[in-house]
């Protein structure tokens, strides 16, 4: 039997047209994987702790780290006094709100402090063509209900906390960000920096949800202090 080719093509074309939206829908990446927990919203730290390490103690500093820490003076040479970024993990410990977004391939954190946008890339490895930078290169992956963020590629300008814990360009920060309940987010992080510390150490920050809050403008237009890099 001779086939009716025009009719066959018309049928095939109609099928393509019918299924086209479904085909595109399947190839378009979802905003986040179905299993990824929702960590969107405006969050703020529960309590402001200037020091990341338990009060009155310091992490295991190397002689180099010790020397850097002795030079730190919050009124004189805190890089933040010069309107420089806090870097990681200090930016996650500033007592100002942050808004988390989950978009294709990234978790974005819009931070009120300096109106910085932190990017956590979900579907790639570390780039070797950038840095050193203030915030490093952050990549993340979901481990069950936890977003594991790995950051490297830092310069040596920033402090780890508000009292002057130092780091070098060998800093490697691993954060485990988890929404423990509807209103609570926890960021457990581990600091590894063989130049500044003899062994890795860990600390944690807790945040609570601020429904209805919006991130405000924050332009550093009033520096009261003078930054002396030679002190």
């Amino acid at each position: 039997m001779r086939r009716n080719w025009p009719k066959a093509w018309a049928t095939a074309g109609a099928a393509v047209l019918i299924f086209l939206p479904a085909m595109f829908a399947q190839t378009a990446k979802p905003a986040k994987s179905p299993a990824a927990p929702d960590i969107t919203g405006v969050w703020i730290i529960d309590q402001f702790h200037p020091a990341l390490f338990p009060k009155g103690t310091t992490p295991p500093l190397t002689p180099w780290g010790e020397a850097q820490f002795k030079k730190a003076d919050t009124l004189v040479n805190d890089p933040n006094l010069a309107c420089l970024p806090e870097g990681i993990p200090r930016i996650m410990a500033v007592p100002l709100p942050m808004q988390f977004f989950q978009v294709p391939d990234m978790v974005l954190i819009y931070i009120e402090a300096g109106n910085q946008l932190r990017q956590i890339h979900l579907n790639r490895g570390h780039r070797d063509d950038v840095g050193p930078t203030y915030n490093g290169d952050s990549i993340g992956k979901w481990d069950g209900d936890t977003l594991v963020v790995d950051t490297t590629g830092f310069n040596e300008v920033t402090w780890l906390d508000h009292v002057g814990l130092p780091h070098s360009d060998q800093l490697h920060v691993v954060e485990r960000i988890r929404r423990v309940d509807h209103d609570t987010l926890v960021d457990d992080f581990t600091i590894e920096d063989p130049k500044a510390y003899t062994k890795p150490w860990s600390s944690s920050q807790t945040y609570h949800l601020k429904p209805g809050w919006e991130i405000a403008e924050y332009v550093c237009d009033n520096n009261k202090y003078i930054y002396h890099t030679d002190k």
Binding site: F24, A28, K29, A31, F48, P50, T74, L75, D78, N80, L81, A82, C83, L84, P85, V94, L96, P97, F101, V103, P104, D105, M106, L108, E112, A113, G114, N115, Q116, L117, R118, Q119, Y134, N135, H162, V163, W213, I215, A216, E217, Y218, V219, C220, D221, N222, N223, K224, Y225
Partner: protein, 128 residues
């Protein structure tokens, strides 16, 4: 380029632009005696509505009746707005009492917890 890719591209570009702008000089509370709250009463000479901190300048009197200038440091403008502060909340000439944590090094500077106007109206400076 589909919509999701476009959104992703815009987000990345926004990040690059935002991370390349000047930031801010928020500093720690380490310079203040956070364990004690004291008060200073005086007349406002200036209210500075600025980031990273707003400031109230007052002229007060010491024990001997001499004029002493005090500075009250406030939070950032975004945080102050969340507890109903505006750029004209405090005006030169207002009589106020500032409550807060004094600088450890003896400077006439205090990190403000709240202010109280002559009328008795209180205004918190902290977002809880």
């Amino acid at each position: 380029m589909n919509t999701r890719r476009l959104l992703s591209f815009v987000a990345v570009m926004a990040g690059i632009i935002l991370l390349s702008t000047p930031l801010f000089a928020h500093h720690s509370t380490a310079e203040y005696d956070m364990a004690n709250v004291s008060s200073i009463k005086g007349t406002v000479t200036k209210f500075e509505w600025s980031n990273p901190h707003a400031y109230i300048y007052i002229q007060a009197k010491d024990d001997k009746g001499n004029s002493v200038d005090w500075t009250g440091e406030l939070a950032s403008l975004g945080m102050l707005a969340r507890v109903n502060w505006k750029r004209d909340t405090v005006k030169a000439g207002d009589e106020i009492t500032m409550y807060g944590n004094r600088a450890k090094d003896g400077r006439s500077v205090m990190r403000l917890e709240k202010i109280v106007f002559a009328s008795g109206q209180e205004l918190t400076a902290q977002v809880r």
